[in-house]
């Protein structure tokens, strides 16, 4: 070794260092952690699997869909949050939506479009929020109205032409014709419905807040989580769903409320995180009733 030139010695040492440190930190360390973890916290280390009637049905800390084969919500179960992981709660393709806070303009589906993307269109984050809110409102028998949403459940967004100066043309850009625009007039100009395939990008984007107060559908119900696997819903969303679940199962409302409380995790040590209701655990508890 000592007789070799410096640069060669250095690179040989580097190769050996990679191998030795790989053995220590890439084999001994993870195996030791696995050994201790499996011995002391067997259930946690293996994914907190929960069972029903002796059969594995999921993980206590990972959310899942409570929908039928056709994707419709099963009304006897509490519903999870929207998920951007694959078709929802897919652990092999976890994802968030990554849509921005000003993603408010849809591409309307255009049957005469040149490619698949144009034919299918694209719903903005705002429209997704509005559509979810409307759907959940209908499911729970409350108003699904929220600010910046039209009554028909899309983003209340106008495109105003020209970009600057006095408007001459105004389009409710997310409402495909023949829908009636959510406002008839904007600064004296009649509002048109959106025509699929037309390019409105030159106009100024004006989201319209509207007069909605007392929103009934909670924030977590209309947004996709970061993990795509959120096991929890807020207490407010659980309480919104409680009457429907009680009705579907023929249970007394106070019994359902008690189960919600039992499956609510408060803030750790009183101040960490936010109170959360574990949906799978709650639904399992309901199935035991």
């Amino acid at each position: 070794m000592e007789r070799l030139p410096g640069w060669l010695r250095r690179h040989l040492a580097a190769i050996r260092a990679v191998i030795v440190l790989t053995l220590v930190t890439g084999a001994v360390y993870p195996l030791a952690v696995t050994g201790i973890g499996q011995a002391l916290f067997h259930g946690d280390a293996n994914g907190s699997i929960v069972q029903k009637d002796g059969r594995d049905v999921g993980s206590a800390i990972v959310g899942q869909n409570f929908t039928a084969k056709d994707g419709a919500a099963v009304p006897a179960y509490f519903q999870s949050r929207p998920s951007a992981a694959g078709d929802g709660y897919d652990m092999q393709s976890t994802a968030a939506s990554n849509l921005g806070p000003e993603d408010v303009v849809d591409v309307l589906p255009n049957p005469a479009g040149a490619d698949k993307a144009a034919r299918e269109g694209r719903r903005s984050l705002l429209t997704q929020v509005c559509a979810r809110s409307r759907e959940i409102g209908e499911r729970e028998g409350v108003s699904g109205a929220r600010p910046y949403c039209t009554p028909d459940g899309v983003g209340a967004v106008l495109k105003v032409f020209p970009f600057a100066g006095t408007p001459t043309r105004v389009v409710s850009v997310n409402q495909a014709c023949p829908a009636a625009p959510f406002v008839a007039e904007y600064r004296g100009v009649k509002v048109e419905c959106g025509r699929p395939g037309e390019d409105y990008s030159a106009g100024r984007t004006v989201p319209v807040r509207g007069e909605v107060t007392g929103v009934r559908v909670p924030a977590d119900a209309v947004t996709a989580s970061g993990s795509g696997l959120d096991p929890d819903i807020s207490v407010a969303y659980a309480e919104l769903q409680a009457p429907r679940v009680a009705r579907e199962r023929g249970l007394r409302p106070d019994r359902v409320q008690a189960l919600i409380r039992q499956n609510t995790t408060g803030r750790a040590l009183g101040f960490m995180g936010a109170p959360a209701v574990n949906v799978l655990q709650l639904n399992l508890a309901l199935d035991k009733e």
Partner: protein, 553 residues
């Protein structure tokens, strides 16, 4: 308890914990890097490496050893990914494609941990455990080694050498990172983070659907991912994934691990130069910038000031219920203020100004408190620049911790600071100017520019987080961002080591009436000012076109 009170207590409890660990951990690291004795295990390691631990290195040799180690790590990690189907525990995944394997190898060797791949569908358990996790350890140890070498430059008198790279690498890994990561991993398992070698386990859900429960040695990787300010997640959704971050308290633990070493290293610096107060001054600068970053990110996210969060009623898109908005914002600030890049919520969906804060935090140059090691050496270079600026203003000879800051020193420090802005701004400009670059945007308008700007900021500063809507697993981005990561990591390191060599060779200048005191609040304020002004002047035009244009109506 109200949400806001809980959020404030969460931040306060982290501050208290870091204050409590600052001294013992800083002192421990001082002993690790200054001690002359080698443990029996270390002696075996040195023999296997074929190096003499007593041999001190000049800065050039130190740098060449570091680069040799990094090149070999790069080749090893590249090879491991390309051959994963031939090895065991691959879960049946094919070899990682060439450009992605290059990008990922660079990303982990440079402590960036940018993820152009989705862990659960690309990397088998062996690559994760023996490739990615290993680099989580050693790239962090490399960062600490460089910081310690620079500190030795200040501490030594008329010395030609700045330490031995192999000793610093091995000691940092075995005596600092390994024990803390081990304890952290066990704590995380207790919270629900998984640690096994299972292939996906298929279950039938309550309503008859199918779910594939993934496994893996996650906790062991998660602990070092945070502790080494690495950030590459085992799964695609990183620390938002319940198997990586199961509860609201594991979230606290992970943020704590991220901040632990960077906030303790200034103590090590103070001990090594024999003036604890110099360490306190440095940690104060870091703490002021960090607290401002955390608080502002929280304020902007909680205000929910943008159309979609207003429609929703809170900035909940891309955030999990168990963390809530405030703790997500705190994690986002911690991960971008250090060069970690792990995420527990998705920055792309943040409010415009909240998202801007995550970018601004990185643009500070990863110094508040920055990555393990990288934060300290970045901050010391800033201190050098500050004494120079102050010296120009009042006509004093610039000195720092007893060393003269001459032409050579200031040139090296300036070159250090030019590297990342050049990479970020030129990289973004090139991306915006060609079709392959533009194609990556998920969102349009200013937000699309933010996605690209974020990507280059993150890669060049070795952070690794993303406005994740951007589609970066393309040959163009894999190569471009890979180059940004390499230059953004190793050019500054070479300049820092050269600076260390130059400082170590000097005889200390005795303190005189003309010496600017560098331990007083006045100096702390000046370093904060220099840091913020340098960043603002460099990046404000780019921020104005992206997040500011989006956020200001």
């Amino acid at each position: 308890m109200s949400d806001n009170t809980a959020g404030i207590l969460f931040i306060a409890s982290l501050v208290v914990a870091l204050v409590l660990t600052h001294k013992p951990l800083g002192d421990h690291m001082y002993r690790v890097y200054s001690g002359v004795r080698h443990s029996a295990v270390e002696r075996v390691v040195y023999r296997l490496l074929g190096v003499r631990p007593e041999a001190e290195q000049k800065w050039g040799v130190y740098a060449r050893s570091l680069l040799a180690f990094s090149v070999m790590s790069l080749l090893f990690l590249y090879g491991l990914q390309r051959l994963q189907d031939k090895l065991f525990l691959s879960l049946g995944f094919p070899p990682v494609t060439g450009h992605l394997a290059w990008n990922t190898a660079v990303s982990f060797v440079t402590n960036t941990n940018w993820q152009a791949y989705s862990g659960e569908s690309t990397m088998g358990h062996l690559v994760q455990m023996a490739g990615l996790a290993v680099q989580n350890f050693v790239s962090a140890a490399v960062g600490m080694a460089v910081a310690i070498a620079l500190v030795r430059g200040f501490a030594r008198k008329k010395s030609e050498t700045i330490g031995n790279f192999w000793v610093d690498l091995v000691r940092g890994t075995l005596r600092i990172l390994l024990p803390i990561a081990f304890a952290g991993a066990i704590v995380l398992i207790a919270g629900g983070v998984v640690q096994n070698f299972s292939a996906p386990h298929t279950v039938t859900t309550l309503t008859g659907g199918v779910q594939h429960i993934t496994g893996g040695p996650v906790a062991s990787q998660e602990a070092i991912k945070e502790l080494g300010t690495n950030g590459g997640g085992f799964y695609n959704t990183n620390s938002a994934h319940p198997f990586e971050n199961a509860t609201s308290w594991t979230n606290w633990v992970e943020i704590f691990l991220i901040l632990l070493i960077p906030f303790a290293l200034p103590r090590t610096f103070g001990r090594m130069v024999g003036q604890l107060r110099q360490g306190y001054a440095i940690v104060s600068v870091m703490a002021i910038l960090a607290l401002a970053g955390v608080v502002l990110t929280n304020v902007f996210e909680l205000s929910g000031d943008a159309t979609v969060p207003q429609a929703v009623g809170a900035a909940m898109e891309g955030k999990d219920v168990r963390f809530g908005v405030s703790n997500s914002a705190t994690f986002a600030a911690a991960t971008t203020l250090t060069s970690t890049g792990a995420v527990n919520s998705f920055h792309d969906s943040y409010t415009p100004l909240g998202g801007m804060m995550t970018m601004f935090n990185m643009m500070l140059g990863e110094v508040a408190p920055g990555g393990v090691g990288a934060g300290l050496y970045g901050m010391l270079v800033l201190a050098v620049i500050t004494v120079f600026v102050a010296g120009l203003m009042v006509g004093r000879t610039p000195e720092y911790v007893g060393k003269k800051i001459g032409a050579r020193e200031i040139k090296l420090a300036s070159m250090y600071f030019l590297v990342t802005p050049v990479l970020v701004l030129v990289g973004t400009a090139v991306a915006m100017g060609n079709r392959a670059g533009l194609a990556a945007m998920l969102n349009t308008g200013p937000h699309g520019l933010s996605e690209i700007l974020y990507a280059f900021t993150s890669a060049s500063n070795n952070n690794g987080s993303a406005f994740a809507g951007v589609t970066v697993n393309t040959p163009w981005y894999d190569v471009a961002l890979g180059l940004c990561m390499i230059f953004g990591r190793f050019l500054p390191i070479i300049f820092v080591l050269a600076l260390a060599g130059s400082l170590a060779g000097q005889a200390p200048v005795p303190e005189s009436a003309g010496t600017l005191p560098t331990h007083r609040p006045q100096f702390v304020g000046m370093v904060v000012g220099v840091t913020v002004i340098v960043v603002a002047l460099t990046f404000l035009p780019a921020l104005a076109l992206g997040p500011l244009a989006e956020g200001i109506h």
